[in-house]
């Protein structure tokens, strides 16, 4: 069993790495796009096997209940995104925004990004995870800047600087954790291994842990996009290629949050350390409220949904900060559904921007008339992201608000009003985008609707009926997170 498991773990990591090298070498774009999708698919298959086959935790890699959910999710979204990116990139080539050379670069980078994220999720070593996340960040930076417009360069540069500072803070936190650990566990790799850390956490020096968590929260929180560390996120979403926006919102933010969660579980295992809850709750609430007000003045469609990602990361952080089985369950579920929904929305947005030739919302009108499938897809997406039934996010927001209200009424009211405000902004824009008399080019969008509606289908299914197995799984993980 176990060795089979490690084979698949290897596959999850090696397939992206190998295909990255291959894609960098291959010239033709048609093939590379397909190859990209194929590689992602294989990765996804390998990852989903990990549900059943797991290796024992090693020094560097581990597959446990917490990360297997994320790894499967991220490989799945990676796969669907690669499908979408196929049709997206083809259009970019025609319009000449990308040259074949950049395209090879793009595909290679895509796979490296996948590799980085999978590594970060699978790593059992806080240092290794740090390296992996940095790798993922660097690749995304390069992809964001790929169009080389002044705006793109600025976005990339901003992302780069803020990201690097975040990375630095995270590293300091990591070192502190090691310091806290090695006097208990002893020097060497064990002092950086998750399974060991969580087990021995109660004996660590609480003061060091506190300081460490503070740095880790800020460092990785920069990647999560929590206010006030969020500045890079909207522009990175707006200026990069849309598949990358989808991956950013759908996966990278999750990975960073995943790191925060790992450390939270270490911290909360230590009785002497302070409770991380209030800190996360306040950051989350701040993000929700700030982002929802920022939505009102947006004119760029992708940047708007970038802000909505900030809002939802805020909700998730809030939920995990509240803690407790219900809130954690809701947080996990929200994380999963949000990455599905948001990536699907970005698929739609990408096609819309291509069909209309602009991301400037005032120039886009009446999509449900001119491009029914895309338009209704957008409507569906906004309804889903706003937490309207029958989509799944309703369940999570229901749980978060009700459980919070029973414990801290004011927090719940603030959260609810924040959500309502954000919804107001989104709906206002949606009215303009999807309805009214169409305006702008009515060119049919040669789009791949499969990924979009596959995601929406999953979200819908989750809203109506969660498979009991999955539920127990989430509940189990939620209980692990305390």
């Amino acid at each position: 069993m176990s060795d089979a498991g490690s084979v698949f773990v290897g596959a999850v990591l090696l397939i992206p790495a190998a295909s990255a090298a291959l894609l960098a070498a291959l010239p033709d774009d048609r093939v590379t796009a397909r190859l990209n999708a194929l590689a992602s698919f294989l990765t996804f298959v390998a990852a989903s096997v990990l549900f059943f086959e797991r290796p024992p935790p090693g020094h560097y890699l581990i597959v446990d209940d917490l990360n297997v959910v994320f790894i499967v999710l991220s490989t799945f979204v990676g796969f669907t995104t690669s499908m979408f990116s196929g049709s997206y990139i083809a259009h970019e080539l025609e319009t000449g925004r990308l040259t074949p050379l950049y395209l090879r670069f793009y595909h290679a980078m895509y796979q490296i990004l996948m590799f980085g994220m999978n590594l970060a999720l699978l790593s059992n070593n806080i240092g290794l995870m740090w390296v992996a996340i940095e790798l993922a960040t660097l690749t995304t930076v390069l992809m964001v800047g790929i169009y080389r417009t002044p705006a793109a360069l600025e976005a990339a540069w901003k992302y780069f600087l803020l990201g690097s500072v975040g990375i630095a803070l995270a590293l300091f936190g990591t070192i502190l954790v090691y310091l806290a650990a090695h006097s208990v566990v002893g020097e060497g790799l064990d002092a950086m291994a998750w399974n060991v850390l969580v087990r021995r956490a109660p004996e660590f020096d609480p003061a060091l842990l506190n300081l460490a968590f503070l740095f880790l929260l800020l460092g990785y929180g920069t990647k999560v996009g929590l206010v006030p560390l969020h500045a890079w996120l909207p522009d990175a979403h707006a200026e990069g290629p849309t598949p990358i926006s989808a991956v950013l919102s759908g996966l990278l933010l999750n990975v960073a949050l995943f790191a925060v969660l790992r450390f939270k579980s270490v911290l909360s295992a230590n009785p002497g350390a302070f409770a991380p809850g209030p800190l996360m709750v306040s950051l989350g609430l701040l993000s929700v409220i700030f982002a929802s007000f920022m939505l009102y003045r947006r004119h760029d469609i992708k940047r708007m949904f970038g802000y909505s990602s900030i809002e939802h990361m805020g909700i998730i952080t809030f939920a995990f900060g509240m803690g407790g089985p219900l809130a954690n369950f809701a947080g996990l579920l929200h994380m999963t559904l949000h990455s599905l929904t948001k990536s699907a929305i970005f698929f739609c947005v990408g096609h819309i921007a291509q069909a209309k030739g602009t991301q400037h919302m005032p120039d886009i009108r009446g999509l449900t008339v001119s491009h029914p499938v895309l338009g209704w897809g957008l409507v569906l997406g906004v309804a889903a992201i706003a937490g309207l039934p029958p989509m799944g996010l309703f369940m999570t927001e229901f749980l978060i608000v009700t459980t919070t209200f029973a414990r801290h009424p004011l927090l719940a009211i603030a959260l609810g009003l924040g959500l309502l405000t954000g919804f107001g902004a989104l709906l206002l824009r949606l009215n303009g985008l999807a309805f009214g008399d169409p305006h702008g080019s009515g060119a049919p969008a040669r789009a791949s609707f499969v990924p979009v509606y596959a995601h929406f289908g999953l979200v819908l299914a989750a809203g109506v009926w969660l498979p009991p197995a999955l539920t127990e799984w989430f509940q189990h993980v939620a209980s692990l997170l305390r």
């Binding site: 002044p150 540069w157 780069f160 690097s164 630095a168 590293l171 300081l211």
Partner: protein, 220 residues
Amino acid sequence: MDRLALDVAHLFAGGLVLVSFMLLYQDRMTGLVNNFALHALVVSLAVAWQAHIQHAPHLYITAAIALGVKAIVIPLALHRIIVQLGIHRTIETVVGIGQTMLAGIGLVALSIIVMLPITAKAGTLAQQDLAFALSVLLLGLLMMISRRNAVSQVIGFMSIENGLILAATGAKGMPLVVEISVAFSILIALIVIGVFLFRIRERFDTVDIHALHEYRGEQP
């Protein structure tokens, strides 16, 4: 002997903080770069010393990287950039040097206060050295935000990184230090290349909002 070893380590760490203050003090571009070279030199010495007292030969690699890349290559590259991009020789600061220094003092004090409750259980690298590392980190950040041009921001960032290397090597027997320092050097190299490639002077650092509108794609 052991006592002496720690004292020397502390000496290097303290020296690093001092050099960070000198960085803050500098208002000429060339002087800044040279100062940074000094900063990197001190770090490499500190790392080498740690390698010596921890009997961890692999740390010499880190020291070598620090020396080679950050004390020699990057300063030279930066000098070329300054010449080629014709960046002003004087650095325009946001607030006066004096206030910046005061803020720096405050940050050092803060980092010491934060470190106080950490028990000696933390091991050989006790409170002071972590405090020093933290101070270097904060001072670097302070430098990034109190200088208006990209090069000095890059230098600030690199000083942060030096502080981190210091802390990392100080953490006895920490694995992956070399890998991490390598990764970090790559990061920095990219940043410098970025500055050079994208011709970043003060361009994105204007406070003129109208100039930013078009970049942020938010024209109404």
